[in-house]
């Protein structure tokens, strides 16, 4: 349950927390584009200090930030090693049998690593400060223009909301069933991989049964309240952009323009 930090919301009251989810999504997109436009280390440094300042302002514990990076740590490491070993060009720094580490490798490796780390950091920061419900609302709104092309924005958002709503419930339920079976002597911890997989049956069967039961109940409950998709549906919390949101959007756009114009 604790390992699901990528996308785990932490309630709070900072500027970033209070921003409109649509603005946050668009800003995230702009920032990601900016990251791919950046061409120099100086650019990364400027970008990094901007993200760092925003991160400080959210007052999120550092722990979360690092925990969010953990899942991609391996990818970053592999990128770094591959570049170090196989990108050739420039001065040779290390020679070790047939393997060499050359200038271009170090340059490109660090470059890519920085880009990846900043990408994940920015995304983690946004997901940590945006409630899943707000996120889904934002996506629904942003998908609206594509409705004519047949993109079911409302349905996608509704599915996301429901899935997100039930992830903690199912985890809790899984935990309970696991304990209940352990109380009957079930063993989830020892044995080889096949044995372990088979031992999961007492956990998975009740979990699926309960997931289907819940889905069924939810469908009935939605139908009983006359749910029939997004058409003409009003909402409890209207999304509303405030000055803060415009400032935010202006800032990130300015950053993108600055990067493109100066070529850092």
């Amino acid at each position: 349950m604790r390992s699901l930090t990528l996308g785990h919301y932490l309630p709070g009251n900072s500027l970033l927390h209070r921003m409109d989810p649509r603005v946050k999504l668009v800003s995230l997109l702009v920032l990601i584009i900016a990251l791919f436009v950046i061409e120099t280390f100086l650019g990364f440094m400027l970008f990094g200090s901007f993200i760092f300042m925003i991160f400080l302002s959210t007052r999120l514990p550092w722990r979360y930030f690092f925990r969010g990076l953990r899942p991609v740590f391996l990818i970053v490491l592999i990128t770094l090693i591959l570049h170090f070993l196989f990108t050739k060009g420039g001065q040779v720094y290390v020679r070790w049998g047939p393997l060499t580490v050359e200038e271009a490798g170090i340059y490109l490796g660090s470059f890519m690593t920085l880009r990846l780390v900043l990408l994940v950091t920015t995304t983690v920061m946004i997901t940590l400060t945006t409630s899943p419900i707000a996120f889904a609302d934002g996506i629904e709104y942003l998908l609206r223009p594509f409705r004519r092309m047949g993109v079911p924005g409302h349905e996608i958002a509704m599915m996301m909301t429901i899935a997100l709503r039930f992830i903690p419930t199912l985890m809790e339920e899984g935990d309970k069933i696991r304990k209940a079976q352990m109380a009957r002597g079930a063993d989830f911890e020892t044995g080889n991989i096949f044995r372990r997989a088979r031992n999961l049956v007492p956990l998975l069967v009740p979990l699926f049964v309960s997931a289907f039961r819940r889905a069924d109940e939810l469908a009935v409950a939605m139908e009983a309240r006359c749910y029939r998709g997004g058409q003409g549906r009003t909402r409890l919390r209207e999304l509303q952009a405030r000055p803060l949101d415009y400032y935010g959007l202006t800032t990130v756009t300015a950053i993108l323009v600055f990067i493109i114009l100066t070529g850092v």
Partner: protein
């Protein structure tokens, strides 16, 4: 001493904004053969406590000792322990998974290494205890049963392990009055005739007053009162302050007593209460 809990503290999700101090510095002990009631309002930490008694949860701090051995020392065989101190969870009907009732009830003993004739005997015992006919039910799918029947199958699955102690976490929640009364009577027999230690978790005072020899009362993760039911129910104000009450009968007897009549207040069944009231009236007249 059978079970000893020493300064047990449990914190869920420590170090996150979702941190919950579920239990704080709880110490208690339970003798073999006792009938223990654990009461407290919703969220007071009852389920958290009982999951420590058979090693399903690890204390944040503090210790659990079973028969003089520290439960979290390396030599304890947790799986064996869990078959000796069995725990039936709240809403146990959700734990069924096998194709047939027989297999499901046999799951516990099979994990202990029981096979063949003995296994069948245990399943039969379990099903008979919950009054499900072995022939009618053993080959049915547990998913085709009613909610109440499922719950009974789950109970049978615990009893088939022949536990020395049985922990029941709100077993009577959402039972109809008749089944509830019946169930309580069977638990009482299990305790008296089977010499099984029973730890009964509930927030229903009426359930517990008749059965338990000793009560542990919890509020916000702390053990606030312990003792025999009659003693505990003297502290009506404390109990009400923490969201519990006292049984209706006790309340009645205490009220009569306060009117200056000589009457016993440690009475928990309607029949006894009638007799006592009649006796007291006669005395008053005579």
């Amino acid at each position: 001493m059978f079970i000893e809990v020493k300064n047990l503290t449990h914190v869920y999700m420590p170090g996150t904004p979702f941190q919950v101090n579920a239990l704080t510095d709880v110490s208690l002990d339970i003798e073999r053969g006792e009938f223990i009631g654990v009461i407290g309002e919703t969220g007071s930490g009852k389920s958290t406590l009982v999951q420590h008694l058979n090693g399903l949860l690890k204390p944040t701090s503090g210790e659990i000792w079973i028969e003089g051995n520290n439960l979290w020392s390396s030599k304890t065989d947790l799986r064996r322990l869990r078959s000796r101190i069995a725990l039936l969870f709240q809403y146990p009907e959700h734990q069924l998974f096998e194709e047939t009732v027989f297999k499901d009830v046999a799951f516990g003993p099979r994990n202990m290494g029981v096979e063949g004739r003995e296994l069948e005997e245990r399943v039969r015992y379990g099903l008979e205890w919950v009054e499900l006919d072995y022939h009618t039910y053993s080959q049915r799918s547990p998913f085709s049963l009613s909610g109440g029947e499922k719950r009974r199958v789950a109970m049978a699955g615990i009893l088939s392990m022949y536990p020395e102690a049985i922990i029941l976490d709100e077993p009577t929640a959402s039972m109809d009055p008749v089944s509830r009364k019946h169930f309580l009577a069977r638990i009482k027999r299990l305790h008296q005739e089977g010499k099984v230690t029973v730890i009964f978790v509930t927030h229903n005072m009426e359930d517990i007053a008749l059965l338990a020899e000793r009560l542990f009362v919890f509020a916000s993760g702390r053990l606030v009162l312990q003792g025999q039911p009659a003693e505990i129910f003297q502290s009506k104000e404390t109990l009400e302050a923490i969201g519990l009450g006292i049984p209706v009968l006790t309340d009645l007897m205490q009220k009569i007593c306060r009117k200056g009549k000589t009457i016993r207040t440690d009475i928990f069944s309607v029949e006894d209460a009638c007799r006592e009231i009649i006796r007291s009236r006669r005395e008053g007249v005579g």
